[in-house]
Symmetry: C2
Subunit: 327 residues, 2 copies
């Protein structure tokens, strides 16, 4: 079995950005997640592909030693296809085309080996399907993603699934929509009341935050001068997070969770620097370490011991404060 198992989509993406476009690249939540997680631990992927999944696509998994035993190939089928475009600010993807193809009939049945994975990530798929997978795996720590589409169209099922995971990893807007509450702190409380032990909020260029019943953590994002393709950033984040958590295997240790969030942010930062998983595939251990060190540096400040409480007052009273000057 693998330390981390992911269920999600393996997709063929056609992506257009303000800089360049590419007709066909390997994408999907399970792809970005597993490549990112593979830098920390051994990973298995549960997904479905069609006949059009090439040897080159497969190499992305193989070269990272990702277990594809539970990657199901449907004879005569076509792989899930997504065509999207990003605007000037690279913040929002406009979907031009979505073809579910083999994904429409996806009913993940896990191998005996996969069922033993201690860490499980439920990528952004139909919430009932997520729960069915969750029930098949005797995992010690389960995290999940979701999106506005499921919040709107399958809310009850989604809330049930959220009730049986340890961590929900979504973005700001999804958290607000899920709780129907504009204040994120209030929204987080409501979501934690649905069952999960932690809520991790992805904020894109603004970083990430983590809420538990008793704690709060927030970090800015790694500053990137060249964002090339944001597709898969959230899944790479989740991959780095879960990979690190599985490696250290102390999900109840909040310092490990915090570090996991930093590693997740780092993997997401690499992911968006090039199309598809191109940059992630080339990442080296040293580059990951370097960004970790940078993270520590650009977020660091120390407390000022010389500024005692009693001194938070004006240093002298003014005699002239009562009379504004006349014109």
């Amino acid at each position: 079995m693998s330390s981390v198992l992911v269920v999600g989509s393996v997709a063929i993406d056609s992506v257009k950005t303000p800089f360049l476009s590419r007709e066909r690249s390997l994408g999907g939540s399970a792809t970005h997640f597993s490549v990112a997680a593979s830098f920390f631990t051994d990973v298995g992927v549960v997904a479905v592909i069609g006949e059009d999944f090439t040897a080159e696509d497969e190499a992305v998994f193989r070269e990272r030693n990702i277990d594809t035993k539970d990657l199901e190939r449907v004879a005569g089928g076509k792989t899930f296809f997504w065509k999207g475009e990003y605007g000037f600010d690279l913040n929002t993807a406009h979907t031009h085309d979505t073809q579910l193809n083999v994904f429409a009939e996806f009913k993940p049945k896990l191998s005996a080996d996969a069922r033993k994975s201690p860490y499980l990530f439920l990528g952004n798929i139909q919430p009932t399907l997520q729960r069915e997978v969750r029930e098949q795996v005797d995992a010690q720590f389960v995290a999940m993603d979701t999106m506005n589409f499921w919040i709107e169209s399958a809310r009850d099922e989604l809330v049930k699934t959220i009730g049986v995971v340890d961590a929900l990893i979504i973005n700001d807007a999804e958290a607000r929509q899920l709780a129907d509450e504009p204040n994120l702190i209030k929204a987080a409380k409501q979501i934690l009341a649905m069952g999960p032990k932690m809520l991790i909020i992805k904020r894109g260029e603004y970083g990430a935050a983590c809420f538990t019943e008793k704690s709060f953590f927030a970090t800015p994002a790694y500053p990137l001068e060249n964002v090339f393709d944001p597709t898969g950033a959230g899944d790479s984040f989740a991959g780095g997070f879960m990979g690190y958590l599985a490696r250290t295997n102390k999900p109840e240790d909040m310092m490990c969770v915090r570090r996991g969030i930093i590693y997740g942010s780092i993997m997401a930062s690499f992911n968006v620097e090039e199309f598809s998983c191109d940059r992630l595939r080339r990442v080296t251990s040293i580059e990951i370490s370097d960004r970790l060190t940078e993270f520590k540096q650009f977020t660091h400040f120390d407390l000022d011991e010389t500024l005692a409480n009693s001194q938070f007052e004006p240093t002298k009273a003014k005699s002239s404060t009562s009379a504004p000057r006349a014109r």
Copy 2:
């Protein structure tokens, strides 16, 4: 003279939020700035008011020992008036009415005393006016704010003014607009090339960032469950920042700058908890210290020394990675 001098607006605001509305409250950039800064050092305010400025309004300055010698009262005039409304998410203010009144003829002539202030903040007013004030003050450190209106309508004048200050304190969108560049890191480089030594980016609920030629710092915001009125948040931020910088008087020490940004964030967090300066006026030293400690806690993570570089690889190779299972 005061350690910190601010030039900006003193206004009467009429604010409507999803929770409540208030017909008349004291506002304006110079007001929020000076109240926030007054917790750290002595502050003087350069602004203009009309006959409708009441003894109660004046008390806000007096009780914080803010020097109002250069607060000019125009006989028969009306104070600058702003009427605005915030939507459900409290992010955007919709302006219903703006009456410049006495502000239209505002030509700040500073007293000899005010001209000696070592720290100067140029609130969001016409950029030529900002520069005229800057030239009157023999300050050691000058920061300024601006807004989309000036970027659009007085760009050349604005760029000139940016060229004669040490720090520009604006928000994300303003930085992108000013540099005509969607990537914030690239935008920051362009803005620093205009002259200032540092660019501080206010990100509202996402925190703040600081760029210099050689360094980067970013922090999330203090998590607030109850945001009541965002009016003046940016000016309170600038007030906390400049107040702390003036108090410690080491503007070239980046650790002081970082702490200043944290104190700015703290003062902004108090500011938005109630209408006008109501909450800021009641803040205690202990409350400021407590939020500083919390800031340190919720942003803290340590590096994982046990995760050596060489270990960022899967723990074992998989024999099963080459053959996806057939259905």
